[in-house]
């Protein structure tokens, strides 16, 4: 009897499992691009990877569904990974983001590549230089992948809504005219991805300070570390997670600038050039109008607290260590820090010293006085007073 009922149930179970598998498979495949190069034959296995010559673990697994939802999800593998014609891959080349990736750029209808951004980047303070303008220690400078990964599209949320529902409703309207749903979704995601900052202010600080708080790396380029930023009120807002709080790019690439085109203070078009500071501090037209009434006097000052360079120019001896050659910093300090700034730094140091002595002296006297008062009170009134 029991066996018979099982026999009856079995076809339904089987049918249900098949339906689930089919639907699941169909659903999972709906967003994934076709693997025309058959790379997933091997790369679909999560355990695929190896340790490279430096002992670093390299993972070669590709989650096709996640990849399809990434910013590069509409590209074929070989669009970026040029070569790879042999198996195992012995002809591997490093990914070059300036490669034309066989996607038409809709505004010009030409083949797309990131070459525009790379050219700007190379001309920026982070560029590796060229034969005409060589840069020492080019290996220290960040490459595309130091800041970028193949990031995922995430549902847009903003002033009109806080959930995926916003994307669903908006896309519903798009699908009316654009029946190719996958295309419409990609287009929508591509656009909305740029309507917000990809990284929070804290993430930006973490990213930039990976290099800019490395004293050895900075000293090689004649720079001081930026840890004095953390003495500012800007940082206080960032650490409390305030939206649009002033992080590195708020001042070094404000509205109208791009992070790929960060330039030194001496460059006339830099937002931190003294001539452009009022505009930068007021950030008119940006999401956050930071100091709308900023005066030239306010904007002309040093935003980061004074660091090693000011100390050097003010006459403080900063000794080299075994791993830290400060000679270039010392040389650059003379041109970077004016006599007036060194004077300001000295005044601030005297005020700091005055308060240290005042606090130490006053509180020390108070402690001694109250200790004696307590001892005397106990003698007179007993232990409990």
């Amino acid at each position: 009897m029991r066996f018979k009922s099982l026999m009856l149930i079995k076809p339904y179970c089987l049918a249900a499992i098949l339906v689930i598998l089919y639907v699941g498979n169909a659903f999972s495949q709906s967003d994934a691009i076709p693997d025309t190069e058959n790379c997933l034959l091997c790369h679909r296995y999560p355990s695929m990877g190896r340790f490279d010559k430096k002992g670093i673990k390299r993972i070669f697994y590709i989650n096709d569904k996640k990849f399809a939802n990434s910013v590069h999800g509409n590209l074929r593998c070989k669009s970026c990974h040029v070569g790879l014609d042999e198996i195992p891959h012995t002809d591997i080349k490093k990914v070059d983001c300036s490669t034309k990736c066989h996607v038409k750029e809709p505004s010009t209808n030409k083949e797309f590549s990131h070459i525009n951004m790379i050219e700007k980047y190379q001309a920026s303070v982070h560029g590796k230089g060229n034969k005409a303008k060589p840069i020492s220690f080019p290996e220290d400078l960040p490459t595309c992948k130091d800041c970028h990964n193949n990031s995922m599209y995430i549902p847009f949320s903003g002033m009109w809504g806080k959930s995926e529902a916003l994307s669903n409703e908006t896309l519903g309207r798009c699908f009316g005219c654009h029946p190719e749903k996958q295309w419409a979704k990609k287009f929508y995601s591509h656009f909305t991805q740029r309507m917000r900052r990809r990284r929070s202010p804290v993430e930006i600080i973490v990213l930039c300070t990976r290099c800019h708080e490395d004293s050895e790396k900075m000293a090689r380029h004649g720079l001081e570390t930026v840890d004095t930023y953390k003495d500012t009120f800007h940082w206080a807002q960032v650490k409390f997670g305030v939206e649009n709080a002033p992080d590195c790019i708020s001042c070094h690439a404000p509205v109208g600038y791009t992070t790929h085109d960060i330039r030194p203070r001496t460059d006339a078009i830099s937002p931190i050039n003294p001539a452009n500071r009022v505009k930068t501090c007021s950030n008119q037209g940006g999401l956050q109008t930071c100091h709308p009434g900023a005066t030239a006097g306010f904007a002309g000052g040093r935003v980061h607290a004074y660091g090693v360079k000011a100390q050097m120019v003010a006459g403080k001896e900063i000794a080299d260590t075994e791993n830290l050659d400060m000679s270039l910093v010392r040389k650059r300090a003379e041109s970077d820090i004016s006599a007036q700034e060194a004077f300001y730094y000295t005044i601030l140091e005297y005020i700091r010293l005055f308060y240290k002595v005042l606090i130490g002296g006053t509180i020390g006297f108070m402690c001694l006085h109250q200790f004696l008062a307590y001892r005397s009170g106990r003698r007179k009134h007993g232990k409990t007073g």
Partner: protein
């Protein structure tokens, strides 16, 4: 509750009350108590919301999703408390000039060469070189020192706070000085309040409790003899001063209750 409240000897002493003939002296009138109460509330709000800026990153982010809201209200509260504190300071200035009690306060609070002598002799007494402490008038050198520090600190904190509030108008150098001074002065003020004032009024062993003076405005006769002997003698020799400083001497105080059971409503009691 202070350790004095737990002391049965002290409680018995306190509970003697007016019926045993003990006098109570007025130390702070209603206006002074209210000024003190507002100052004390503002000081705590300013200290908490001010030092929050200096919290380490890990602690700042421990508020989770509420961090931004916490930071927003921190700034609002700091400014509100700052404005109230400045207003109380200005009121106090007018109080000193335009009220009789204020003028008495100002005259009694003015530093005199005698204060330096008192301090040295008092230290000798603490060290056991003298048998009796100096006889203090209405305000001892400790209170004068604290009062002058409070006035100076409030002016410095208010000025630098207002500079930081209107930051875009000033040069960065002025703001750097204001930031440094505001922070350092805050550290000095908080440490001084804890070590000097709170220790003085709550933790020092003494004959009886004065921990409720900030609410009732009164201290008992024993405390008066012990702590402000010179003022006590002056009052007892002068009927005009008795009318001002002895609780119940003024006809307006006749209906005043005994200060033994202190309630928050006692703040409204008029001396």
């Amino acid at each position: 509750m202070s350790n004095k409240d737990l002391n049965p000897e002290v409680s018995a002493h306190n509970s003697a009350g007016p019926e045993t003939g003990k006098r109570y002296f007025i130390r702070l009138n209603l206006s002074e108590r209210l000024q003190h109460f507002i100052l004390f509330a503002c000081f705590i709000v300013l200290a908490v919301t001010g030092f929050m800026v200096m919290l380490p990153e890990v602690v700042a982010q421990a508020f989770g999703g509420a961090s931004e809201t916490v930071f927003f209200y921190r700034g609002i509260l700091h400014r509100i408390a700052g404005i109230i504190l400045i207003s109380v300071g200005m009121y106090h200035f007018l109080y000193l000039l335009f009220t009789r009690a204020g003028r008495r306060w100002l005259i009694d609070m003015l530093p005199r060469p005698r204060d330096l002598k008192d301090m040295i002799f008092n230290m000798f007494y603490y060290l056991g070189f003298k048998k009796e402490p100096p006889e203090f008038d209405r305000f001892s050198y400790k209170q004068k020192f604290e009062y002058v520090a409070l006035i100076a600190g409030s002016i410095i904190m208010s000025a630098t706070g207002l500079l930081l509030w209107t930051e875009y108008k000033w040069s960065k150098f002025i703001l750097d000085i204001a930031t440094l001074v505001h922070g350092m002065e805050a550290i000095l003020a908080c440490l001084a309040i804890m070590i000097w004032h709170l220790f003085e009024v709550y933790l020092l062993p003494r004959k009886s409790s004065i921990s409720k003076t900030w609410i009732t405005g009164l201290i008992d006769e024993d405390e008066m003899k012990d702590e402000f002997a010179a003022q006590y003698k002056k009052i007892m020799d002068d009927p005009a001063l008795q009318k001002i400083y002895i609780h119940g001497e003024d006809p307006a105080d006749q209906k005043a209750k005994t200060p033994l059971e202190v309630k928050i409503t006692d703040l409204a009691r008029i001396h």
